[in-house]
């Protein structure tokens, strides 16, 4: 499984006087099992881009190859693609509608045409995977906390056994521990099931902690596409486009100016602590 985004361009209201370029000539290769984070200022085209990956939106030019096949070619089975590429929208808890958490999670697999037994089996499995307690199974999803609701929504997508999981700002509005829990959960799912993760986020700290690769978008173009350390080394440029680097990067830059012998390319708090300890000679 490999996704190749090839010279993809999308315009809103094409051919009218209101034409707006959402993104232009985007080229990205995503390998199987990778954890890719997509960052960029609001309105840079991230959300529009990810909605192409399972064919919800169609491009104006260029295409996407999934497993070597052109998904926008006539006759391509988009229905089965949408099962393989699961998309968790922003505030996915707004899409919960089941009477119980369990029936909500079962909806996807049942809709795929699986038997009730198979659907329930899968649902049970993924609800365990995302860490939902048995006692919540038959409660209404509307009585849960924000973080729990979001886990149920993610379980609903996982129950379809996708190969790729796309999440659009999965931690927005959650408390700090809730944010950490969701990120740890996604990382765990990636490791245990070798799922490919594509995640949109505004939290630079979290992106630095979890991503294998970061794609930075600006005004509809890909600006950087690299591992976190290399991307965040450009923090001056990132600030110009509405982003910033993680706290640890700035701290290292400040300390380096004050004569500390520290590596200015680090991005996480843990790395910062070990650099400081080293520089203090401990």
């Amino acid at each position: 499984m490999k996704i190749i985004i090839d010279h993809l361009t999308h315009k809103y209201e094409k051919g009218t006087s209101h034409e707006v370029v959402a993104f232009e000539d985007v080229n990205i290769v995503i390998e199987e099992g990778q954890f890719v984070c997509l960052i960029g200022h609001t309105g840079c085209g991230k959300s529009t881009l990810i909605q192409h990956l399972n064919g919800i939106l169609k491009p104006d030019s260029g295409t996407i190859y999934y497993n070597g096949e052109d998904i926008f070619e006539k006759g391509y089975d988009l229905r089965s693609l949408r099962q393989k590429v699961g998309l968790v929208f922003q505030y996915p808890e707004h899409q919960l509608f089941g009477e119980t958490c369990f029936s909500d999670v079962c909806y996807g697999p049942l809709n795929m045409g699986l038997s009730k037994k198979e659907a329930e089996l899968r649902s049970y499995e993924v609800m365990k995977l995302v860490g939902i307690d048995d006692e919540i199974f038959y409660q209404s999803p509307f009585n849960l906390s924000g973080g729990q609701k979001r886990k149920v929504a993610i379980a609903g997508i996982l129950a379809m056994r996708p190969e790729v999981l796309i999440l659009d700002e999965p931690t927005a509005g959650l408390d700090p521990l809730g944010q950490k829990e969701i990120f740890n959960l996604i990382k765990k799912i990636q490791k245990e099931t070798n799922l490919t993760i594509i995640l949109v986020s505004h939290s630079m700290e979290d992106v630095a902690n979890y991503a294998d690769k970061i794609v930075v978008m600006n005004h509809g173009h890909v600006l950087y596409n690299d591992e976190p350390k290399k991307v965040f080394a450009h923090y001056d440029e990132l600030e110009k486009i509405g982003l910033k680097a993680p706290f640890a990067s700035y701290l290292m830059a400040d300390l380096s100016k004050k004569g500390f012998d520290v590596d200015t390319n680090i991005t996480t708090n843990e790395e910062a602590v070990s650099e400081i300890l080293h520089a203090l000679g401990r």
Binding site: G40, H41, T42, G43, N143, S145, G146, G147, E169, A172, G173, L174, D175, P176, L177, G178, Q179, H202, M204, E205, E239, G242, L243, K244, F247, A248, Y250, L251, D254, L255, K258, G259, F260, N269, E270, A272, V273, I276, L277, A279, L280, R282
Partner: protein, 285 residues
């Protein structure tokens, strides 16, 4: 005199089944007392479901307490006759900017509030212009709101509240949906209103760096105020905050981790500047 004076507030959500029988009661606000003085910057922290937003909705009479008293600018917020005045003194900004902008053009949106208050035409324009300038959005006055970024929309929302000349603005996670620079712009606008116009701010947030800007922090848990104090007093209690599903600013975390490794560094560091200074002192010894 306090601008907001809350004593022993209690608010409960009652769940009912299809026949209307009570299924369960959740006490969202449980015996909360607090004061907000004019010009004070308050931050309210707490995990999802801790009662922050429910509490905040009391301050401009969107909901009324079941028990306890709440005075807003000297008026009893529970009195039906006072609701109009209470809402004029305390304005509210919500998380999603798209849910609170109604005008077709930025200046029209900002003018909606004062127009509703029955303010005279010339005065409305004056207020629209000064409010947009206060949040640094005057250059966008002729724009359609849907051409703006999230941070810009949020600042327009704040200008819309400003134009009603409130004494206090309550902001419920105003930056949750914004990118880093959008966040910074909104926070700069809030701080400016607080300092220059002496407007009280009540900021509900999950972002610990934002809470550092406040004069006083209240931490909520299970509907009660669990901790209160200055940012320095609150954030020096790393372990306690973590138990409440919260966190501390990154500078404080790193200082905490260094202390655990035996580095003699103050517990109450809040900002990057303070951390760099403390480390420089250590290094020069």
């Amino acid at each position: 005199m306090s601008l907001i004076k809350a004593r022993n507030l209690i608010y409960e959500y009652i769940r009912r089944d299809e026949e209307g029988n009570v299924e369960g009661i959740t006490r969202a606000v449980d015996d909360v007392s607090l004061d907000v003085s004019p010009g004070q910057f308050i931050a309210i922290l707490g995990h999802n479901g801790s009662g922050k937003s429910t509490l905040a909705k009391h301050f401009n009479a969107l909901i009324n307490p079941e028990e306890g008293t709440l005075l807003v600018d000297g008026l009893d917020a529970r009195e039906e006759d006072n609701v109009f005045d209470v809402r004029q003194s305390v304005g509210m900004v919500f998380q999603n900017p798209d849910n609170q902008i109604i005008g077709q053009v930025v200046e029209e949106d900002v003018g909606f509030g004062p127009e509703n208050l029955g303010i005279e035409h010339d005065e409305i324009w004056e207020r629209v212009i000064s409010s947009l300038k206060a949040v640094n959005m005057y250059d966008f006055k002729d724009f359609s709101p849907n051409k703006l970024s999230g941070g810009q929309k949020q600042r327009v929302s704040i200008a819309g509240i400003m134009a009603m000349r409130p004494k206090c603005i309550v902001l419920d996670e105003p930056t949750a949906m914004l990118d880093p620079i959008g966040r910074k712009d909104v926070l700069d606008a809030i701080s400016e209103l607080n300092k220059k116009n002496n407007i009280s701010i009540i900021l509900i947030t999950h972002n610990m760096e934002e809470a550092v800007l406040a004069d006083k922090i209240f931490v909520m848990n299970k509907g009660k105020i669990e901790m209160s104090g200055s940012p320095r007093e609150i954030f020096s209690q790393v372990d306690k905050l973590r138990k409440l599903r919260l966190d501390v600013p990154p500078a404080t975390i790193i200082a905490h981790m260094l202390r655990e490794k035996g580095v003699n560094i103050p517990e109450d560091i809040l900002t990057r500047e303070e951390l760099v200074e403390a480390l420089t002192k250590l290094n020069n010894r």
